[in-house]
Amino acid sequence: MAGPGALPLQGWDWLQLFGHFLLLSLLSVGGALTTAPEMHRYLVLQHRWLGEAQFSSSITLAQVAPGPNILFVALLGWNLGMNSGGPVLAMAGVVLTLTGILLPSTVVTHLASQWGHRNRHLRPVRAFKQGMAPVVIGLMLATGWILARASQAGSPGWPLWLLTAVTALLIWRTRLHVLWLLAAGALLGILGVV
């Protein structure tokens, strides 16, 4: 189901998409989710290949399912393919986006981890490790913010913000298991509280 106003990808669009994900891969410091705001800007706002709801449901489904969060990228690829034709293109989209986002970072990280391990006492290595920390944390918070905004699509309301804030507080401060909170979120949604 294409989101409202989503445009299909044609020909060169796929190559452009692949190139953009290759580039994002190298910039995905601090985890794949820090690139989510950029993917949102590129896929939803700039090209309108994905609807707002499709973007946020991709991230939510990947978070709800077991496994690394990076799988949201596979779902973005899936939805791009479904918008452009059907299941065959959707599988191609999965392969394209997942390969794009993983290939360059894997090569770089493998080589750098070997090198960094041997040189971990050097001053530039320590400066890089510590210097990136505040920026990486700011980007993670930005991702949370953009997701919270995306979940408001359709019918915004303060109870939803409250749910996000309470979740953040509980996970930050307690050892409560994530599954309880996801179940609570689903239940509150079904009951129409949020």
Binding site: Q63, A112, M132, L141, A148, A186, G189
Partner: protein, 193 residues
């Protein structure tokens, strides 16, 4: 973040490529809302592939390098043991089964997603998912206290990155490269040689 530590004698590592693949599959399948929380428990406490100190060290590398943290962690651990083939086996373990599951979920969602109850449930879970990521950022921010630039400067820098991307919608790469190179240089200046 990481003190100089001498690693004690290497603990028993993975036995084979198949062992790597299956172990990381098992690890990934336990990770609801992200794998990081279970990775430490599974790899350090249960399997004893890594000491705690070594885990922290690998985690820092995984965190700093481009790529998803937990994928990087699996690739670094696999690579340390069996080179390239180990890195690929570990990453394949992390991805294969969870990818199949999440695609099944997407197909089911495509079929039942319009059902109002499903849409509302997902809306609630989406708000929770956003909170999970905010919490991860807040948790990590605790580690900024001992930062060479000082806690308040770090807070301001994190806020600047947040504001640029979340509120002003600047492209993330500019923020990362621009602000990041500034903080790295400032940190370099503050560190003991």
């Amino acid at each position: 973040m990481i003190e100089r530590e001498t690693l004690p004698e290497a603990p028993p590592g993975p036995r084979s490529l198949a062992d790597l693949f299956l172990s990381f599959t098992w690890l990934a399948m336990q990770g609801f809302g992200g794998v990081m929380a279970v990775a430490q428990r599974e790899l350090v406490e249960r399997k004893r592939w890594l000491t705690r100190a070594a885990f922290v060290e690998e985690w820092a590398v995984a965190q700093i390098m481009p790529g998803p943290n937990v994928m990087n962690l699996s690739l670094v651990i696999g690579g340390r043991n069996f080179g390239w083939r180990g890195a690929l086996a570990a990453m394949a373990g992390m991805l294969t089964l969870p990818l199949l599951l999440v695609l099944l979920l997407a197909v089911a969602y495509g079929r039942f997603g319009q059902h109002p109850a499903v849409a509302r449930a997902l809306r609630g879970m989406g708000a929770v998912a956003a909170g999970l990521i905010l919490a991860a950022g807040l948790r990590l921010s605790g580690g900024l206290k001992g930062h060479p630039l000082g806690g308040s400067a770090c807070g301001a820098l994190a806020l600047a990155a947040f504001g640029g991307v979340a509120l002003l919608h600047w492209p993330m790469p500019f923020v990362l490269l621009g602000l990041g190179s500034l903080t790295c240089l400032a940190t370099y200046a503050r560190l003991d040689p």
